[in-house]
């Protein structure tokens, strides 16, 4: 197993390099200027902006800039943001926990919805519960998060005024009150992402369980006198988990994409909103660093998916 992991990691390195080359050239060619605000301010003479760009090497040819970036990356310096002068790794370390917390919680909510509902609906196909669950799941992932986010703010923040909609990272309260404030301000983004993801996964869990429930070995299990609940849990769900867990692992990077929309709407200062502001300002070091973090996550989760798949399904052997 370890040997297989090492081989997979070795393969991952060229792919990460490939990603960085392509992305860097794209960013170098893409329009946009980190010093946009300087433009409209007549008081700032043009040559100031010129030498600002020169000082950051914005006008050098692409390959020189790439190697400069790569060598500093390998030395562990991720450079500093063009716009804010803050070292990029501080920026990311400051923003990553919020995103991980919101995404992590939303994935847990999604699984907490999808597993029980999906399994229960599949064990009673075409029952009332199954049809309601199925319809709600469809509604759930047909509603764009963009739209549900707005509706949530309208309903909970403005009409009912229960929840704040400006995300604050510096809550003064301590102990329980701190947790309560955190919950109040992040429950909406978590629910928007969680419900959307939960709806998509409910359908998947249901179809995965449906595929397994008709297999012969389930009837064998029943013939062994095992109670129905145990048959469902030990035999049906255990087998259905193989495709489900793999999908969950594979979808994690895409979830970061989804988080960007929610972070924009609820003003969560996470990796997503950092990426958007960096892209709009063509702030190359930040974009490269954030994309690299996401690319590394993609490779990591793909690996994780394979490992889990192998662990769950003994038929898969590690050649």
């Amino acid at each position: 197993m370890a040997q297989y992991l090492v081989r997979r990691l070795l393969i991952a390195i060229p792919s990460l390099l490939g990603i960085s080359v392509i992305l860097f050239t794209v960013l170098a060619l893409a329009p946009g200027d980190p010093f946009e605000e300087l433009a409209t301010n007549p008081a700032i003479p043009p040559e100031v902006r010129a030498n600002l760009r020169a000082s950051l090497g914005l006008d050098d040819p692409v390959h020189i800039r790439y190697f400069a970036w790569l060598t500093s990356m390998l030395r562990g310096e991720w450079g500093f943001s063009f716009v804010s002068r803050i070292p990029v790794d501080d920026l990311i370390l400051q923003r990553l926990p919020v995103t991980i917390a919101v995404i992590g919680a939303s994935q847990l909510v999604a699984l907490a919805i999808a597993l029980p509902v999906g399994v229960y609906a599949a064990t009673r196909p075409y029952s009332i519960f199954d049809q309601i669950a199925n319809t709600l799941a469809f509604v759930g992932f047909s509603l764009p998060t963009f739209f549900t986010g707005l509706l949530f703010i309208l309903f909970f923040s403005i009409y009912l005024d229960w929840l704040p909609f400006v995300f604050r990272t510096d809550i003064e309260a301590t102990g329980w009150n701190w947790w309560w404030q955190q919950l109040r301000q992040s429950i909406m983004p978590i629910m928007v992402l969680g419900l959307f993801q939960g709806a998509a996964w409910t359908r998947f869990v249901r179809s995965a369980v449906l595929d397994v429930i008709r297999l012969d070995h389930v009837t064998t299990a029943r013939a062994k006198g095992i109670p129905e609940r145990a048959v469902t849990l030990r035999h049906v769900v255990r087998n259905a988990m193989i495709p489900v867990v793999t999908l969950v692992a594979l979808q994690m990077p895409a979830v970061f994409g989804g988080a960007i929309v929610t972070e924009q709407i609820f003003r969560v200062p996470g990796i997503g909103s950092l990426l958007i502001s960096a892209i709009l300002a063509n702030d190359t070091p930040v974009i490269m660093a954030v994309t690299f973090v996401i690319a590394a996550l993609v490779v990591f989760f793909n690996l994780l998916a394979d490992v889990i798949y192998g662990w769950l399904d003994p038929r898969i052997s590690y050649r």
Partner: protein, 328 residues
Amino acid sequence: MAGRLLNIQGLKVHFKTDDGWVHAVDGVDLSLDAGETLSVVGESGSGKTVTAKTILKLIDMPPGRIMDGSILWQGEDLVPARPERMRDIRSKEIGFIFQEPMTSLNPVYTVGEQIAETVRQHQRISRKAAMERAAEMLSLVHIPNASRRVHDYPHQFSGGMRQRVMIAMALSCDPKLIIADEPTTALDVTIQAQILDLLNEMKERLGMAVLLITHAMGVVAETAQRVIVMYAGQVVEEAPVEALFDRPLHPYTQGLIRSIPRLDLAATEHRRLEAIPGTVPSLLSPPQGCRFAARCGYAIEACRAAPPPLREIAPGRKVACIRAEEIA
């Protein structure tokens, strides 16, 4: 007839489909004594597998439904039995061997775990003891170095070996009856013989009754003491094995036996393979009278009028044909 191990009377099992109710099993009588091997033979769609599975209620209800009849197991009727009671009987008193060994074992657990699970379901013993019991059962069914292979997964066994595992699992709780639903159909010929020998050996050693479901007359001859022939959801003939092959009473049984390709006749005989003309009637709206009438050479008006009762015309011999005596 009290005292019999298993006594099924007038069993009717119908399935709801888009086009209406399918009368898969339409009034079946079947009974079995301890230690006896009864074989139920018939083409696919004759209702033999449904009858067998209904004993342990392994069919999905809905769409299936037991319309009528009783299943007496040692005198106790299982039809109204509650799920908890059925669970006690499954594998503890009645074991089941399925047709498809390739898919009947759970791929993600080792064979040992799956057998141990059965054992621990019915006896309060530790996990380790259950695994030892599993290893014992595997060696009982002649699986080489069972103590090591008990930790292997199903995909590491061949088709024949897996059927042996299934048998080991079915016998793990010393059941009084084993129902084997076409246990050899999915296997190739050489392995079939080994499995049937194993079944017979198990019968001698453990003394359990066997209800063998098959469509192969050869298998019947090899293993069964008594035979029931089913056609279109009904029992058409019941007889001891030798009597059935010597003098089949029901026209359908005669057709079955005649269509067996015979190696014992000399090449010179040049007889063409015989087949029974026509097709099995639709079970959606079964015909009024005898269901074999449309294909029966001896059919007369009376046959089509009313359903022929299953009559005992000699000790241990029943037939559902009003002209049985005439054409014997």
